[in-house]
């Protein structure tokens, strides 16, 4: 498909440079920072404060928490990895579990990029952008990106991503330090932000019955899996519970 057949690309990416190859309009990059000030951004802040506190709870150093936030940039993976390392799980089990939690980033990347990609433009910005895509950016993208012309979307979202990452590093450190200073009752609340956010987000992501089955099956199998194979419990609960939910969803038909 070329630009002639895609009217959106022809009009929105009209800011093409000297040649007729469409390009991104990087003037939108700084304004993306404003998108961080939003409800999803606030919840994300709270859950990274929670992650910082959790890292303190696991007796890691602050640097480890910051490094995880900057290099993994996906909270479920970070929490899974931290808790498995503390458990003393095998390296293979850790890698497999992190891989599985990260698989959910794939559809998000596909969905976000399909909304912000300028056809035929340079590809390297896509690989940079993908590094920043996670649950919250996906949600903000869904809400805000449509108001922008296509050539400005990726730069805007990348500006947002850079701002969020800088801010979440501050939040991770804040949570780590607060967890040390706070009375136990408040520290417990801080740590609880992360599971609370995951729990509510799981329900928020429900699009069809299968999704609800997955949540129930995963939580229901967790104690059994923990008892049978404490090193592989998340993998076991995820694979068995998820597959069961998928089959049940197929049998029940794809209804909401």
């Amino acid at each position: 498909m070329d630009a002639k057949q895609d009217p959106r690309a022809a009009t929105d990416a009209g800011t093409a440079g000297r040649d007729d190859r469409p390009a991104y309009d990087w003037s939108a990059f700084p304004r993306g920072a404003l998108g961080a000030v939003s409800v999803p951004g606030l919840v994300m802040s709270a859950s990274f404060v929670g992650f910082g506190a959790l890292m303190r709870g696991f007796d890691f150093e602050l640097g480890v928490g910051l490094f995880m936030t900057a290099t993994i940039w996906a909270l479920p993976g970070q929490v899974v990895m931290a808790s498995m390392v503390v458990q003393g799980a095998s390296l293979v089990a850790v890698a497999a579990a992190v891989t599985l939690t990260a698989v959910r980033l794939l559809p998000m990347v596909v969905l976000v990029l399909s909304e912000i990609r300028v056809p035929r433009a340079a590809r390297w910005p896509l690989y940079v952008m993908a590094y920043f895509i996670a649950v919250t950016i996906w949600m903000i993208s869904n809400q805000q990106v449509h108001a922008l012309p296509r050539s400005k979307r990726l730069p805007w979202l990348l500006g947002l991503g850079c701002t969020l990452m800088t801010w979440m590093l501050v939040m991770t450190a804040t949570g780590f330090l607060l967890a040390k200073a706070l009375p136990p009752v408040l520290a417990a609340c801080l740590v609880f932000f992360t599971p609370a956010f995951f729990c509510v987000s799981l329900f928020d992501a429900i699009r069809e019955r299968m999704d609800l089955f997955s949540i129930v099956a995963g939580a229901g199998l967790a104690p059994v899996a923990l008892w049978i194979a404490p090193e592989f419990d998340l993998l076991l609960a995820g694979l068995i519970g998820g597959t069961a939910a998928w089959i049940a969803g197929r049998i029940g038909g794809r209804r909401t």
Partner: protein, 110 residues
Amino acid sequence: MTGELGLYALILLLGTLPTYVWRFVGVLVAQRLDPDSEVLRWVRAVASALVSALVARIALVPPDLLNSTTLVDRWVALLAGVAAYYAARRNIGIGVAASVATLFAAQLLV
């Protein structure tokens, strides 16, 4: 010393790499893959179940900082968050706030 550095290397190898791989694949298939394909649905189901199991595990076998809460406190708080989320017309912020507030209140009641 090597243990310290080893931990950072471990994060890059077992955390960063497996995570970015999926983002990379996402870029590659962004043009082609049907988001409704059965493979992706299965993947989504497994990922949801895994995160759900993670939440359940934190509630069942909590990190030390949650020692001031009971098992019942934690489960009630999670359910209260989900209930508040739906009561507030699927508002994530209110759901999370209600969940944490419930855990706070539950600790004070004991």
